[in-house]
Symmetry: C2
Subunit: 505 residues, 2 copies
């Protein structure tokens, strides 16, 4: 999912301020890559290693983008899977993806991705990046190739560090704090470069034989969330806002690209006064062993849907006013402190990780009278604290405790393992809300990763990669194919570069 | 799916023409039901049988609505399932529905529906309607309870006939050609009746203790398809246009209801000059044993997705310009004429039904130079006829025939049974397009089927049923739970009536 949010402030670009020494520059490259997340960096490295002159633009002051906060990449049938005897075949992966996404996704591109995913991990490993396959929850396949190390750094940051080293070594010219502002077209409508500008007032006119867009999603722009994704930006919030404003999609559509389908990489979560993002208390919101109720005090889902963070977000969003409460008790607190969490938040809070600070964080949240966390010594009091009808909450707790007693959830069939009765003498509740890590989609591409125009013809010289690409996922992200978005970034970046080189011949 | 389209013209309401004898009428009822499809008729019958005075309004000149064209109802664990030893449990049905719809659907209402579905069939059977469970394709569960007979009529028309008889017997006052025009609210915002008008210029002010909306979908209004469903009405077309304009949704939102999520009951199909709807040639468009290519001449899906008509529609819609071609040859024609179809179009063209007129319909389509059907005596000629790049089509046919030869579809993993090589000396192609039978959704309701306002509070006196109800399906209709929409109509109609009566006490 996401890591090290504290880094983000450091590399989000500062506002432009014109400088007296600013100048207009004319540059040229074989391949211009826009955006230095894992998609853009991989494209740049791949192209430069093939001997091409590459310029890489990044609007933020550091490389990495959303990938900086990711952890693992999707792959099927990799060397790492082989050593674990993971049973998933490429055939089953393809079929399951098509089925899970209701055949709204692109079968050809999905097939290519599944087929090429393992080789992609091997290529990255060839650059010194180490991987391990992790199953984050029992509801997913063993597709998640987590970066275990690159020179002392793991997860997304490790991948980015490795790719940046490779880019430097291969001679990629990286310009930070320098967003592309528009694409340059020739008379035939082919893309032949882009304009860019930095905060010192320098402007750049960069000619290139191909432009590879890798600017990521648009989820940090609420207007686009509303107009492009038709989702309520009040109900769905960006969990890692780092300036994802769909710049590549905007530039490409101005250059004639069609607007494609858009989706979200959604997940459950919480927020509130005194609740630390990814802290011990935060981690309780992802647990399957609680009782979930909505603002009417009614239970609304089998709570083990928490094992599928995207589906869990849907379930929460579907409730009145788009939120819920996760109710647990002291025995759960003790369990999480001593035995650790049942459902990991990726590998940031891995399965089984103990939450030693949980009691303290609970006490702190109580002290500051958190709006996202409540405690009570009876169901009646809890109903009051949560502002839900007491009769409904009483019924929900009673039915739930009865289900725990007999070991069968006749209401929503939650797995017996997570049916743990609530001691109503001391109850806790943490608010549940729906978030998205990023949007996923915006531009239609073909199997060569070329951007398509409104007549579905490729725009010569223009490629799109990673989170900008439509029809890789349906409206609900599949957590079953763990690492799908992060894996697709480098996979599509590399193959866009290879195809761009091929087209130049 | 749908039956007897020829009936439709007869009962779509004529334009209004004012009549000199027209008058204003004041009527009253315990329960006013708006719309006389299976949801409205069932609500009316249930309420009248409980001794309530019921008025039933229908804007068309005949009862039935979309149900007239449907065939079977969803149910799990019915008496009919018992006699077939069908293995599906209610637990598995619930879990599968939640999973298939990505938890965007309402778990509580879904649970209620699954639990109550069998009893609903029994209740209908108690009114003389006969059922049989049919598995339409190998990709679905045995949930489809097809109406086998009601006094000589089967399918949706049989159900409607049975319900209409029951309504008449129970004393329901049915007014045809009389659309409700607006809801009447009291000072507290509760619904206390509705206004209506007929084509003779009569107007009606009907007071009622409860109003049950059962006006069906909005799919025949392209503006609503665009604005409510955010789908391109050029790419998605209504297959059975009978005046489904979302009247109930419009009236309810004017009365303060929130607009909920909307979906489609989508399916694949074809159209073109000389192609008879549901004819022998039409039926070939639903077959898994053909080769499907898009307008670029590229194969785009495992063709056995035809077994899931909603997913097949998605796959076709996802192609450039939203269409494709299904290519087959003479051996397939012979197969369909002698052994019958592999994939049924519901029970209208059931699995195994022979297509005796296929050769004649092919000849006729050729004679009229159909835009939806092409024939050629080589791949090169077919490419020309279809207007697709020859090289791509050659490659698609070659790869496909190779897959047939070795009995393994390495591209999209179509089941071996349906890999039948094409004789390129004589090829046929029928156009594939995406349709929807109806929209599904529009109003948020609670477990009592009460319509919810923007604060998620029930609007007193107002109920919604059937295709008007949100959050029963996700963006893609599930053909796995065959009969879901048709089953929900009578199920929700009945329970809305029972709850309305309960609220009156």
């Amino acid at each position: 999912m996401y890591a090290k949010l504290t880094l983000s402030a450091a590399f989000v670009a500062l506002a432009f301020s014109h400088n007296a020494l600013a100048a207009d520059h004319n540059l040229s490259a074989d391949i211009l890559v826009v955006g230095a997340g894992s998609a853009g960096l991989t494209a740049a490295v791949q192209a430069a290693e093939k001997g091409k002159k590459v310029i890489l633009l990044e609007k933020n002051l550091g490389v990495g983008g959303s990938s900086q906060f990711a952890e693992g990449l999707f792959a099927v049938g990799s060397e790492w899977n082989r050593l674990r005897s993971d049973p998933l075949t490429k055939e089953e992966a393809f079929k399951t993806l098509m089925e899970k996404h209701g055949y709204v996704i692109d079968a050809a591109k999905t097939k290519d991705y599944v087929e090429g995913s393992a080789e992609n991990i091997s290529w990255l490993a060839g650059h010194g990046i180490k991987f391990e396959v992790v199953r984050m929850t029992p509801w997913e396949a063993a597709t998640w190739h987590v970066i275990s190390d690159y020179k002392g750094t793991n997860h997304g940051a490790g991948l980015i560090k490795g790719l940046k080293d490779a880019a430097d070594k291969a001679g990629v010219e990286t310009k930070l704090g320098t967003p592309a502002t528009e694409l340059i077209l020739n008379k035939e409508g082919a893309v032949v470069g882009a304009k860019a500008a930095d905060k010192k007032g320098n402007t750049y006119t960069i000619s290139a034989k191909a432009v590879i867009l890798a600017t990521g999603g648009f989820g940090d722009d609420p207007q686009k969330v509303k107009n492009w994704a038709h989702r309520d930006p009040e109900g769905w919030k960006s969990s890692v806002p780092i300036g994802k404003t769909g710049d590549g999609i905007v530039m490409a559509t101005k250059a004639g690209a069609a607007m494609g389908n858009v989706s979200f990489v959604q997940h459950l979560g919480t927020e509130g006064k005194g609740i630390k993002f990814l802290g011990n208390l935060y981690a309780t919101s992802w647990q399957p062993s609680a009782l979930w109720v909505n603002c009417d005090g009614n239970r609304f889902s089998n709570e083990d849907v928490a094992f599928s963070f995207a589906q869990a977000a849907n379930a929460i969003y579907a409730q009145p006013h788009h939120y819920g409460w996760s109710i647990f008790d002291d025995s759960q607190v003790q369990y999480m402190m001593k035995k650790g969490v049942d459902s990991g938040i990726g590998v940031l809070v891995p399965v089984g990780q103990k939450l030693p600070n949980l009691q303290k964080e609970i006490d702190d949240a109580v002290t500051v009278k958190s709006d996202g966390f409540k405690t009570a010594d009876s169901v009646a009091q809890l109903a009051k604290e949560l502002g839900v009808p007491e009769a409904n909450l009483q019924k929900a707790v009673e039915q739930y405790n009865k289900a725990c007693e007999v070991g069968h959830d006749g209401e929503y069939y939650k797995e017996k393992t997570y049916l743990r009765p609530l001691n109503t003498k001391k109850l806790y509740a943490i608010k549940l809300k729906a978030y998205f890590f990023s949007s996923y989609g915006g531009l239609n591409t073909n199997r060569k990763h070329q951007v398509l125009d409104k007549n579905n013809k490729p725009i010569k010289g223009l490629y799109a990669t990673g989170l900008e690409v439509s029809d890789m996922v349906g409206p609900t992200y599949s957590t079953w194919s763990s690492g799908h978005a992060f894996g697709f970034a480098s996979y599509s970046g590399r193959h866009a570069a290879l195809n761009a080189i091929d087209e130049m011949k």
